[in-house]
Symmetry: D2
Subunit: 316 residues, 4 copies
């Protein structure tokens, strides 16, 4: 399903190489004056149009993502009706994909989409592309704005890149991997502050379950934890009883919520790889195009936006 | 919300010290001959009525959980109508809780439930108690049976207890912690085999997101991962492209699904702890009653059952 | 699906001749002191244990419906957790159905259930029986109580029985039909007063659409209207603009909501009928057992309860 | 909520005088070759661009509704991903509304929207306008096409205009009402043929309940019935047992489904009316612009499309 949330209900659409990506937000309260600057700032973080030492070497600056608002907004005010928006796919370089039309790229969803739908958009990743997260960032930034008015703030940061925990070393580390024609993942740490006590719904909609669902729906996300998590698996009860991660019994305690998400490396790498084509034969491929060596800085606003949509659905 | 799933829709009810716990399953196909033995076997695993070296020392054998079938079943055959069942709370030793009526037990949901609902069942954990998982095991065991007929099998195992990865050492390790009056958590590893290609729904209902939601809704679960996960965060793209964990782009590849879940230790420990009472004052408490030093073996059927309910919702 | 509503979410279960019928209410606020007398009063109206001139001749008094509360209630107080309740099917006279085991009763769901599920409970109507509405009345009476605290009141009345609009003549009219061994339907009119302005959600969850869905889910209901409705189809715009029925654009105006529902006659009649058996052969049958000549007075609390569940879902 | 259906899930957006109206269809199977001609034909019926004797006098021909497909379609083939489409509001004559900015038009949703949202698009009916049904017709026409491939056909016809049941007299009747500056409603009859036995889900999602919900969500719809309905309220059980309307116990019998819907007259009339302005004062108004004397022929494709979306959700 391409709809997320119940009260603040976001429907996402669009292929990476189709006419546009976009979304519909149903349930946004009337009378909000949309902070377009904030949305653009979040889109710029996602697109690496803000300075980031990890990324400078790996990717050229792209044009800004221009949002066309189709409904639900009059001037800058929300009307309480569904907010529809699109971002046209201006910069479609499908020629990068010409030699991959019949290849299932390793680590990508090419094979599974083909198997599930019996067809796929041959011009790129389609719905499985990270392009889709543009719409999440628009919808989630409005959610963040709504939360800000309730003094709830969400901030995601890179905690670790590959094996490297020291931010001072990240630039060098990523550069070395870039030179190998390879890519690297890492861990994001997200803090939600200002949360009131009492959010979350037992027994299935525990807040951590809602957050895990939202975050694990992001491309390349391979894990979610909070509180003692995977890091502190050796801690005994007498100690872990002091660490809540902001939720107990699935309900917020009023303390900051802190969770982590782990992302695998970009599967698109310059290095030669063995793939399978759609006749089942092995082929050797090199993936051209602009691909990130480490996309972690870019995923931060996406993590914030998904978390924001979870929280707003519990607050409204 | 206390309802899980859409096609195979399970609604759970019951407090730990009320009359009964139970559930309603809506959407189970008609004509299934229910395997009551398998359900009882899963309930026995959950209740530690089967042999387990880790647990022998920590907990007395309890009576079996007797299921009363109220609807949806005629003889042993399902009718296609809602299956309602209850398990009475025969063995209610509320006296263990007498001295805790006004105390928020550390690491428990006592405080957050009180804050959210303004009241709570003073006789025990209520809905927040792990007692609630009895109903999940009944509903999930029927889901497992439905999957078995499609040659899909789910098996959870303990991967690690605290810092200890060697099963040979677990009994000694747990015994030592028991002697301290403390408790310990660990990691469960679950394998789903026989999965057809094509399960999972982009972009929000990616199968890993559905699984994470289901597993993170289990009491004490602090994290979920699959594929490279948190364990292999240092792996580069050229390597991680070979590790799918059974899902790509949120859709099954046809390979086994393998995921992990991390659980914190039981918060109920014999050791003296500082708690807060409902007037906000610190008090020193010792928690009596039968509590597990390490509940990991008991959570295995619960993990299997939640995973089974996810898969059946994608298969039906 | 056997679940109704989202915020005040009611799941119904139970066959007419199984162990019990019952329900689970998820989302009822904590701290309500349940008015058991009111629930019993509504159950008595449904079961014809209150005086009703239309019905006296057609049906013996039945025992009261005894509710067993399984969860979500401590003393008479709701806990905010799922409220589960059952009513055992004490008075099961399945022998009435012995000669009908292989017959599809005309106007009943016997044939369609058999076709859909490939099996059915041979002891009676199963889920298709009006027995199922007992659970609706319990859940809806609690909803009515919640609404009463907000000064919203719901009252259903018989408007018409068959062709007869004059209440003074109903008793005679029904008596004559009883003597023919036949049955008769009619129209119910329901008024919801004290409704605040602004309830209802465009564009699909217009309040009239929600009400129509709820009311049309009652057995034997064949139509729903409000405002000018079917009655005043000849009215012109200049006149109909003055008649809102309490809703405009799917949203309440603050005026009373008035709607109507039409019910067909009980299909179970004493008179000889031609039916089809499950081998496809025509058979002549007479249906024994206690069946209403005109069940309209009994459906009134069911109509009120379904309307109450719609409104509470828009108010919470 | 602006989303309809679960399996074939349609989300609608757009104000009548905003940039565009449109929708997102989630769950349409991959590999369908969309019949654009049929969609345009349905849009032409809705917009009165096909011949209709009732309407010729009342309304000028409008330009065609041009659909822009944004996603989910490659060439004419569906991809299995969300289908997003928009229709720009080219012909926005907001000046017609200049004198109505502060007036709550009688019989319109102006007042209720203002009360609910605290604001509204002053340029016209916004979401409450029948303009919104354009998107329903696009989504529903694709559903009709899917049904056609399963030999299920849906056809709506005008049964009655006002008090007038004879089609031969309709043109004269409507003309006379036009001359008064007034408007008139009527009854639509819809037949669904080729339906397999077994559609519909007890006990709340009885097929008639789903249909009533869908049809009652159409602007100006005031009632829904089927089978004996409101028309044949005097029929006795021995007779009504022979009339199923295509559904028994909420499940299709395999016979044609026949239902009726009653619509009130257009509230926008040329005739002088007393209205209330947003300060609560009475004002006399005349509504200019192109308004239908009798919109019944235009609502036929909308009725068909809503019915089609109900059926496809039960068939997929």
């Amino acid at each position: 399903m391409n709809t997320f949330g119940y009260k603040y209900r976001f429907t996402s659409f669009g292929e990476s190489h189709g006419a546009a990506v976009g979304g519909v937000i149903d349930g946004c309260p009337a009378g909000l004056s949309i902070d377009f600057d904030f949305i653009n700032h979040q889109l710029d973080r996602r697109a690496c149009r803000v300075e980031n030492p990890i990324l400078t070497s790996s990717r050229a600056k792209s044009e800004s993502d221009e949002i066309e608002w189709l409904s639900g907004v009059y001037g800058s005010q929300t009307l309480g009706t569904p907010i529809a928006f699109i971002i046209r796919n201006k910069d479609v370089r499908s020629s990068d994909y010409d030699n991959l039309t019949h290849v299932f790229r390793p680590g990508h969803a090419d094979m599974t989409y083909q198997a599930k739908y019996g067809c796929r958009d041959p011009r790129g990743g389609g719905r499985a592309s990270a392009r889709e997260t543009v719409a999440r960032v628009v919808a989630g930034s409005i959610a963040q704005q709504l939360l800000r008015e309730k003094n709830i703030f969400i901030k995601a940061q890179v905690q670790r890149i590959g094996e490297c925990k020291d931010p001072m070393q990240w630039q060098e580390y990523v550069k070395a991997i870039a030179e190998e024609g390879d890519s690297i993942g890492g861990i994001v740490r997200c803090t939600i502050s200002g949360v009131p006590v009492g959010l979350g719904e037992p027994v299935f909609d525990k807040l951590q379950a809602q957050l895990a669902y939202a975050i694990m729906s992001i491309n390349a996300c391979k894990g979610f934890d909070y509180g003692t998590g995977f890091e502190r698996v050796g801690v005994k009860g007498s100690e872990s009883n002091k660490i809540s991660g902001g939720m107990l019994g699935g309900i917020t305690t009023g303390e900051d919520i802190v969770f982590r998400a782990v992302f695998k490396p970009t599967p698109s790498i310059a290095k030669e790889q063995i793939a399978i084509d759609d006749s089942g034969n092995p082929v050797t491929i090199k993936i051209n195009g602009r691909h990130d060596v480490c996309f972690l800085p870019r995923v931060l606003p996406v993590v914030e936006c998904m978390a924001a949509m979870v929280i707003i659905n519990n607050v409204l």
